[in-house]
């Protein structure tokens, strides 16, 4: 499946990027395509576009703070998870995404 989403944390210097890396690896290992926007100290990177959302099956929001542009994902089913849990259990997080789409 195609997953789009956001990772973010309060300080924006570490957890944001750890979650992005961990989730990308876990998703690819399970055969999915994934694109995660980071909202960190460097601002918004790898931005999710309208086109990305139109082509996506589900949204994954792994954050520990308020984020910008969450309404972009309104057309998609959204799975929300704490950014720390996403880092510790990336594979379980992706399985959760899989299960929520099949349910």
């Amino acid at each position: 499946m195609k997953i789009v989403g956001i990772t973010a944390c309060p300080t924006g210097i570490a957890h944001t990027y750890m979650a992005q890396e961990a989730l990308e690896t876990a998703a690819r290992n399970r055969g999915h395509q994934i694109k995660l926007e980071t909202q960190g100290a460097m601002g918004i990177e790898n931005e999710i576009t309208e086109e990305d959302i139109a082509n996506a099956d589900i949204a994954l929001i792994a954050v520990g703070c308020a984020v910008e542009g969450i309404e972009r994902f309104d057309s998609l089913q959204i799975v929300e998870i704490d950014v720390g849990d996403a880092i510790k259990n990336p594979t379980e997080t992706i399985i959760k995404v899989e299960e929520s789409i099949s349910s």
Binding site: T11, I13, A14, H15, M18, T38, A41
Partner: protein, 148 residues
């Protein structure tokens, strides 16, 4: 971002507060920050909000304060795992960034370090470093490649 004087291996501490205090003192001695107690307070406040033990035996205590003169990463490898909130930790990367004088370059290195810590091979290399000098060299070479 990494400095020989701020990489420690084979260390032992009783709790996370001791690690933070030790690394803060070392960062101050190496002129990375002034008024170390202010930075230490920022790091502890961050820990209280949300533990920085991220799993994988890694903790990344961090603070952002204008008492930080230059962004730094202080690295500490423990002799054996130590409890850090609900996790067991062996690798500590303490990060300091200035609040208002951050450079994109430093933030990029920190993002790179954060991503690297999620890679098993990277953690393995860190864990297996035989002394502080070889650990510093490993990190420094990767950092230099990343900058290019």
């Amino acid at each position: 971002m990494f400095e020989k004087e701020l990489v420690f291996t084979n260390m032992e501490f009783n709790n996370k507060w001791e690690v933070i205090e030790f690394l803060t003192t070392k960062a101050a001695e190496n002129e990375k920050l002034i008024k170390s107690e202010i930075f230490e307070k920022a790091v502890i406040q961050r820990e209280d909000e949300f533990s920085t033990a991220v799993g994988y035996e890694v903790a990344i205590p961090h603070g952002s304060s204008d008492t930080v003169k230059e962004s730094f990463v202080a690295v500490c490898l423990l002799k054996k795992v130590m409890p850090w909130d609900n996790e067991e930790v062996r690798m500590i990367f303490m990060i300091g960034v200035p609040e208002s004088r951050r450079t994109q370059e430093h933030l990029k290195i920190l993002a790179w370090l954060s991503r690297s810590l999620m890679r098993e091979e990277f953690r393995k290399q860190v864990m297996e470093a035989k002394d502080s000098y070889s650990l510093y060299n490993y990190l420094h070479v990767l950092e230099t490649n990343e900058e290019e």
